[in-house]
């Protein structure tokens, strides 16, 4: 190691505010913070900012306030543009992985193979989510993908993940990725769903059904067959108690399987720093306990977006704005329209979570300790 880099390693960078994660929540938090004339550092482990938005080619739901009817890829571009306008206030570190978070608010990162320490006064954690996996025989065969990987291959890199595929899971991700697979010319043989009802929006279900894809509810994957890669899968029907019904096995010849069975908050950093956590199944698993200001049990540690509970990207956007406003307010920097914006964003969140699809989220948030933004 050269003398120069040794000096660099010892050096502790000081920042008032560090935002971890450059997806919709982190980007929107950074924007609010900069608008309040507060500087911050935005760290993301990917080479391109935007989180999952950069592979979402479909139009978003919600209201136009959260970029409804705009495609995810274009929302990413807009949000990144907003943040880059404030290059004097927002220090963006892309391709940088946070490897440690400590109670004295020291963030340690790996950047260009170098270990760097940052001392923060406040931290906003917007790390998003990871995909849930499904246990079945041979689930580690090549060709068995998570839906996120399929979307990345197709929509970021332009690579077809397979030719004949079965989708496991009919939530919005399963339905949307099926549609996008068909746009890419992949033959989607079936969408199977363990629950007796389709999980996602029915408009998405109707979109794939009219293209001729069968959606089979009360059905799960039993095993994958193949040596070097997946060649076939066997599915089986489930009864009302989710027990397998013998004799209902069905085989599909495939070269890929896509697993889309839900997301779980990415909370490792929150656990590491010692935030109080709680298991809330409605929010996707282990979540931090937060107050109505998006602050965790540790003062000045905030969380927003999927990391605090799985919801839609539209909610992550609004939560990001709110976490940003709260964090800089506590640091003594008021957004010129602070009160007006807070009311507006709280109203937007309540509105987004209001319908039948928001019911699970409303129950989850009450368990998590947030009583605001749900009616």
């Amino acid at each position: 190691m050269s003398k120069y880099s040794l000096i660099k390693v010892k050096y502790m960078i000081k920042k008032d505010l560090v935002i971890i994660g450059g997806g919709p929540a982190g980007l929107c938090a950074a924007k609010m913070v900069a608008e309040a004339n507060q500087s911050c550092m935005l760290i993301d482990r990917n080479q391109i900012l935007g989180g999952q938005l950069i592979k979402q080619t479909h139009m978003f739901f919600g209201s136009e306030k959260q970029y409804a009817k705009t495609r995810g890829i274009d929302i990413a571009e807009k949000l990144v543009e907003d943040v880059k306008k404030y290059s004097d206030l927002i220090d963006i570190w892309e391709d940088t992985t946070v490897v440690g978070l400590y109670q004295d608010k020291v963030v340690t990162v790996l950047k260009n193979e170098r270990y760097v320490k940052i001392q923060a006064k406040a931290i906003i954690i917007a790390t998003g989510a990871s995909e849930k996996v499904l246990a079945f025989e041979n689930n580690d065969l090549p060709g068995i993908y998570g839906a996120g990987a399929v979307q990345t291959l197709m929509n970021v890199y332009g690579v077809k993940p397979g030719h004949k595929i079965v989708m496991v899971g009919s939530g919005n991700i399963g339905l949307i990725v099926s549609y996008q697979l068909m746009q890419a010319g992949v033959n989607v043989l079936s969408i199977i769903e363990a629950s007796p009802k389709i999980g996602g929006y029915k408009v998405h279900a109707s979109k794939v059904r009219r293209l001729g894809v069968n959606i089979e509810t009360s059905c799960t994957i039993k095993k994958a067959i193949g040596h070097e890669n997946v060649k076939k899968i066997e599915t089986i029907k489930l009864d009302e108690n989710w027990k397998e019904i013998e004799g209902t096995e069905k085989e599909y010849e495939v070269d890929a399987v896509c697993i889309a069975v839900g997301l779980t908050p990415l909370t490792n950093l929150l656990s590491m720093i010692g935030c109080q956590m709680k298991y809330v199944s409605e929010l996707g698993g282990l979540v931090p306990i937060i107050n109505e200001n998006h602050e965790t049990s540790i003062e000045n540690i905030y969380v927003c977006g999927d990391a605090s509970g799985i919801e839609e990207a539209s909610s992550a956007i609004v939560e990001g704005y709110l976490a940003g406003l709260h964090a800089c307010k506590k640091l003594g920097k008021f957004h010129p329209k602070n009160d007006e914006l807070m009311n507006e964003y709280h109203q937007q969140l309540t509105n987004l979570r209001n319908g039948p699809f928001g019911e699970k989220i409303r129950i989850g948030l009450k368990k998590q300790g947030v009583c605001k933004d749900v009616s």
Partner: protein, 159 residues
């Protein structure tokens, strides 16, 4: 059944159509059956014909007297759940959203497809519209037999 296989029932479908005498002029058919948080159809309508109340989880309501069948809502609906239809003699002219390449060419004949993805007849391609405002959702104008009024939903290339 919609919640089981993604196919709306006949009753659901016809509940979204006006009386046939309205369809001498083009009208939007909004197949939004579920309370989801979404409102671009309402905010994009240039004639204020589509209303979603304060709570964006409400279903859209369309006023067929105000609807001109202009088709702006077709490509603004993130769920691709809106089409425009007009009865012309023994035929129906539909405008539908379409997001697959290659696009059809005018005057080709494609399959007419129902909500289950089955072939129900022919669809004559009259127009392929794709302006910048449509943001990569093409609108295809087709002519199908009137008997397919409540069945037709999309098109598929003949192979």
């Amino acid at each position: 059944m919609l919640v089981k296989d993604g196919v709306a029932t006949y009753e659901q479908v016809i509940s979204r159509f006006p009386k046939q005498e309205f369809l001498v002029k083009p009208k939007a058919i909004i197949e939004c059956y579920e309370n989801i948080p979404c409102n671009p159809c309402s905010t994009s309508c240039p004639f204020d014909a589509i209303t979603i109340l304060e709570d964006i989880n409400q279903l859209p309501k369309i006023d067929f007297d105000k609807c001109t069948g202009c088709g702006v809502c077709i490509y603004n609906c993130p769920g691709l759940a809106i089409m425009v239809c007009q009865i012309i003699g023994d035929k129906v002219r539909f405008k539908i959203p379409y997001e697959f390449l290659p696009y059809p060419n005018e005057s080709e004949t494609w399959h007419a497809i129902n909500r289950k993805g089955e072939i129900i007849g022919d669809a004559l391609i009259e127009k392929v519209m794709l302006t910048k405002r449509q943001d990569r959702t093409a609108v295809i104008q087709v002519l199908v037999d009137k008997e397919n009024l409540y069945d037709f939903v999309t098109i598929r290339r003949k192979i």
